[in-house]
């Protein structure tokens, strides 16, 4: 009743325009996406919002959702190559979706990203993204809003990686240019 107590998978990840533009600005370098998992104790199968549950992506886990996010973003910018020797691996270290607040809800996501080149580690950093949105005292509004905003939080986490100059250098993506924008 009233759409409460539902369980639904996170929406298929969509590339963010901002992330695509950042990647397009760097003319070279292609990457593969390797192993993505979740640290012990991190909610990896479902997140609860007022009694309703958001479940992970295509493989039912949020680590899988992060894998999908990285792959989707790289493909949208033509920077994905499954056979590339430059590879991103990641571990989801924090996965929080707080849609219980009456006014402002938030999601906080963190992951350890490792970039390796021919097996050698070129980048190893934990990045955190926080995302807020307007919630409601009405569950039928607050729950869908929380589920809708989780992908946006994931976009922000991936944006932290793509906007890190150390990542750009490690990935061999070359200096930024405005030619493609």
């Amino acid at each position: 009743m009233l759409g409460g107590c539902v369980s639904q998978p996170a929406m298929t990840y969509q590339a963010s325009i901002d992330n695509t533009e950042v990647l397009l600005a760097h003319p070279t370098g292609k990457l593969s996406v390797g192993h993505v998992d979740a640290a012990a104790g991190v909610a990896n199968a479902h997140l609860s919002v007022r009694g309703s549950e958001l479940t992970g992506g295509s493989d039912g886990t949020f680590a899988g959702y992060l894998h999908d996010a990285l792959t989707t973003e790289l493909k949208a910018a033509g920077r994905f190559d499954a056979s590339s020797a430059t590879r991103i691996d990641a571990t989801l270290t924090h996965n929080e979706l707080d849609g219980g607040a009456v006014k402002n809800a938030k999601a906080v996501l963190a992951a350890r990203f490792v970039v390796s080149k021919d097996g050698k580690t070129a980048y190893d950093k934990v990045l955190t993204a926080s995302h807020q949105w307007e919630s409601s005292f009405i569950g039928a509004v607050a729950i869908p809003a929380a589920f809708q905003n989780y992908p946006a939080a994931m976009q922000k986490l991936v944006a932290k990686l793509f906007n890190d100059p150390e990542f750009i250098r490690a990935a061999g993506m070359g200096p930024a240019t405005t030619a493609a924008r």
């Binding site: 298929t12 969509q14 963010s16 325009i17 533009e21 397009l24 033509g78 809708q148 493609a180 924008r181």
Partner: protein, 203 residues
């Protein structure tokens, strides 16, 4: 004491009745009306691009500034269809292509009615008798970039939604929600292309 018990029982029964009615939701209808402000644009209204090029379309739907993955997935094919049907480009894709320009379109849904959810909730509590009307605003920002040159344009659109017993805006035709949203999104995509073309973005 008996009166208090009866009152509590009555309130509980009334709450369950309202709860049950809201859960049915089908008993309260929503109608949508597309604002007539944007002109109808078709391929014939666009200039012929002298040197058409391939294009990569980047599209994102946002709700109050935040990316909305569900709406993006639903609307993106319509935007790509409009770009394809416009005849302004040799090839249209959402992935990079050699020598392609970049058409970027962002549509942000900005509710123009305060407390829209509370209004709808109130309509539900009165079984639709106290109807309400809410207005959704859409800000479409479009740009075309190629060879280091970028042309931008912005346009606005609105959809009015009546819930329950409330008259729609005068002179506008009531539509099913899906049809209204499709029409408004198509109008924004076509008008954005027209405005960019008028600014010689594709010359």
């Amino acid at each position: 004491m008996i009166a208090i018990r009866l009152e509590a029982r009555f309130l509980r029964a009334a709450f369950v009745a309202v709860f049950a009615c809201l859960s049915l939701s089908g008993c309260i209808s929503a109608k949508m009306y597309v604002d007539p402000g944007l002109p109808a644009v078709a391929k014939a209204d666009l200039p012929v691009a002298p040197h058409p090029e391939p294009v990569q379309v980047l599209f994102e739907f946002r709700t109050k500034g935040n990316a909305n993955a569900k709406a993006t997935a639903r609307i993106a094919p319509r935007v790509i269809s409009a770009a394809t049907a416009s005849g302004l480009f040799t090839q249209v894709s959402n992935t990079p292509q050699d020598g392609a320009g970049i058409l970027k379109i962002v549509i942000d849904n900005v509710p123009l009615t305060d407390n829209a959810a509370a209004k709808g909730f109130g309509t539900g509590l009165t079984f639709g008798l106290a109807g309400s009307i809410v207005t959704d605003g859409y800000i479409c920002t479009a740009s075309y970039s190629r060879g280091g040159h970028t042309t931008e344009t912005t346009l606005k659109h609105s959809i009015y939604t009546t819930i329950g017993n409330h008259e729609g805006p005068k002179g506008l035709t009531a539509m099913e929600p899906e049809s209204a949203v499709n029409l408004a999104m198509d109008q924004m995509a076509w008008n954005a292309l027209k405005q960019l073309a008028d600014k010689h973005a594709f010359d």
